[in-house]
Symmetry: C2
Subunit: 127 residues, 2 copies
DNA sequence: TCTTGACCTTCCAGTTGCTGGAAAGTCTAT
DNA sequence: ATAGACTTTCCAGCAACTGGAAGGTCAAGA
């Protein structure tokens, strides 16, 4: 299967698939003409990657998860640890964004937003 | 005032302050020896930047906000518009992260995390 | 006066995860 | 034969810094 079909199948752009090969995540075979040739196993890995990236795992996390995915003797604890760390990080980001939103929301509400120059948002930033 | 004092005053790393000069945000005068020399006005702008960046505004947003900050005749509506757009973007990110967290949290809970290879997290990623 | 150490300068490279584009080769259909 | 839709590689760029190297400057102490 060539790269554009692999892209359609996995939901990843062809450019991204080539990039994943560059960084050693999925290396398909090659045809006589030099074209990449994806087999079922490659496709599984690409789908795995697109899903894991969609869940916000870093590419380096994905590399580890992929190797665990390939390892029939992995311990589920290893996977859980990565996922848990990621979960905590996501929760930290949510909290940070919420506090940001609260501050910003207050500022936006306090600004009447008309032609006059007086602006509580700018005043706050400058304080 | 030299760069390390400006850094201490504004809460920005010296490296970042030099970077802001590179991209044309804050350009201090220079002493005879070539050292940067920050005056009160520069410091105000640096503080403004660190606060606006802390609120998650992009550097390009900051550039506009800074020019509005400098403009005594700005309309508060202009500022409010930028802040509102940013607020919406933050809310979008929060919602995205929350949905991510819910999915990931379910996965983590369903994985017993022991020595055995069976792992619902990997299974889900591979599905 | 010399030296040490803490500053300062510029410039270049690397980070993350792609994405766009150029130049050139290949395949398929008309 | 030729058009156009693929494919390849390589190089550059995005955001917003950050680290490090190589070298200049300055203030304090022996």
């Amino acid at each position: 299967m060539n790269i554009s079909d692999a892209a359609a199948d996995s939901g990843l752009p062809a450019k991204t698939i080539r990039y994943y090969e560059d960084i050693g995540l999925v290396s398909p075979g090659r045809l006589a003409n030099g074209y990449r040739d994806y087999d079922e196993h490659d496709l599984h890995k690409l789908r795995f990657l697109q899903r894991a990236r969609g869940l916000g795992f870093s590419v380096e996390d994905c590399r580890v998860l992929l190797s665990l995915y390939e390892d029939r003797n992995r311990a589920s604890a290893d996977v859980k640890k990565i996922a848990k760390t990621h979960l905590i990080e996501i929760e930290r980001k949510i909290a940070e964004l919420q506090s940001l939103r609260d501050t910003l929301s207050d500022l936006v509400q306090s600004c009447h937003g008309d032609d006059r120059p007086n602006c509580p948002i700018i005043n706050d930033l400058a304080r």
